[in-house]
Symmetry: D2
């Protein structure tokens, strides 16, 4: 378990869970999490999950992702869970789900699901490792 | 041309161009625009483009989007251009491109392209019109 | 369990499994299943899964899908498994996985995974129910 | 202009147009082109477009694609047009559009649009060049 920029990150081989601190700017003005904010959260978790399977010195870049938004992401907190479906030498396919916990403390609901392709890059001076 | 939250928004039927002010939090720590930030920008432009074709009282929700990242989004400014490919009564398919202008003032490059499905909703008390 | 066009279809609420008969035209010339063939199979299973949750008289249309191809789809048989992630009155989000069974009779591997949006349509004379 | 398997293929650097012969199995039972058939057509055109920019000895594999279906693909003929948006050494982003020409001989309509990631592979004995 890491603490990065206020976020809690749980890592296991091919998996990552990301729990950001509540930040007002993540929420829409009507109490919903933005599509963009949920996507950013899921993309970050996907990158961490891919990173757990990469060789030293390699970096990860998001090649593409697709996100379906299932429910209005309402609530007090959001969590992203990512899993590498297929590791590869140059590409990794990752699924990441975004959950939102309601303000009444109930269990989180699946608010968004992402399917992403992460590119493993090496020897790119413009992309720092990690 | 509107000015919303510091952003300049150009609207035409089925089209929108969004030019946000430079905001440090949009940039990665190494001078790149985040995948998530470019996606949020493109999604917002897509929503505006869909909104230009909607009847009064309707609201737009992002059902899903997919973004391909073509180049590192480096530079001083980002712009999103969105176009409705197919308007519909309940669904609109929108393409949105994200461009990044280099710091040397050169022309912007296509950094990301999005294909999105926007849902037109009515009579949803939890989703405010507009 | 239905038998439709030579295929075996297992249905449960929100779920479908589709096992087509081996057809030579599904296979690439080098013994792989085509990306397009796996996608067609997954899309069909996704449509069946959505159909199990629809009211009588409604029909399902594929609004969009995205498929990631994880491994070369080699083998003697393919199976698609679909699950509705979020049923809705006008839209359903469905995940569908395509598995390929190797010719030596071993267990099937996940060859492709799809995330799809199905539109529920009513009163469209050009789209027959079911 | 090539003639392959009954199809006409027009190639230019980074572009391909694919015009298959009318085949009954492409059409739905109600006179529409299947989502899967349009996707297969677009994916094939995308592969040809990527191939025009590849070095000798390399092969192309579809890593992923996403297709939005804009209109019922009705008519007598379908055409796919593909364009490489970003060529790369290991990945190419390609857009491919599927058009359907109505039976009355009118101009074709955009029926589907695809955004695809093609992987450039080398030295893979299981994937033949081309």
């Amino acid at each position: 378990v890491l603490h990065l920029g206020g976020s809690v990150v749980e890592l296991a081989p091919g998996r990552a869970v990301l729990r950001p601190p509540f930040r007002a700017e993540l929420a829409q003005q009507h109490g919903f999490f933005h599509a963009g904010a949920l996507t950013t959260l899921a993309d970050t978790a996907a990158g961490y999950a891919a990173f757990t399977l990469m060789l030293e010195g390699a970096a990860v870049l998001t090649a593409e992702f697709k996100t379906n938004f299932l429910r209005p992401g309402r609530g007090a907190a959001a969590v992203a869970r990512a899993e590498v479906l297929k590791p590869g030498r140059t590409l990794m396919t990752v699924r990441a789900d975004g959950f939102c916990a309601p303000e009444d403390g109930g269990a989180g609901e699946l608010a968004a699901t992402m399917l992403a392709t992460m590119a493993v890059v090496r020897d790119r001076p413009d992309v720092p490792p990690g």
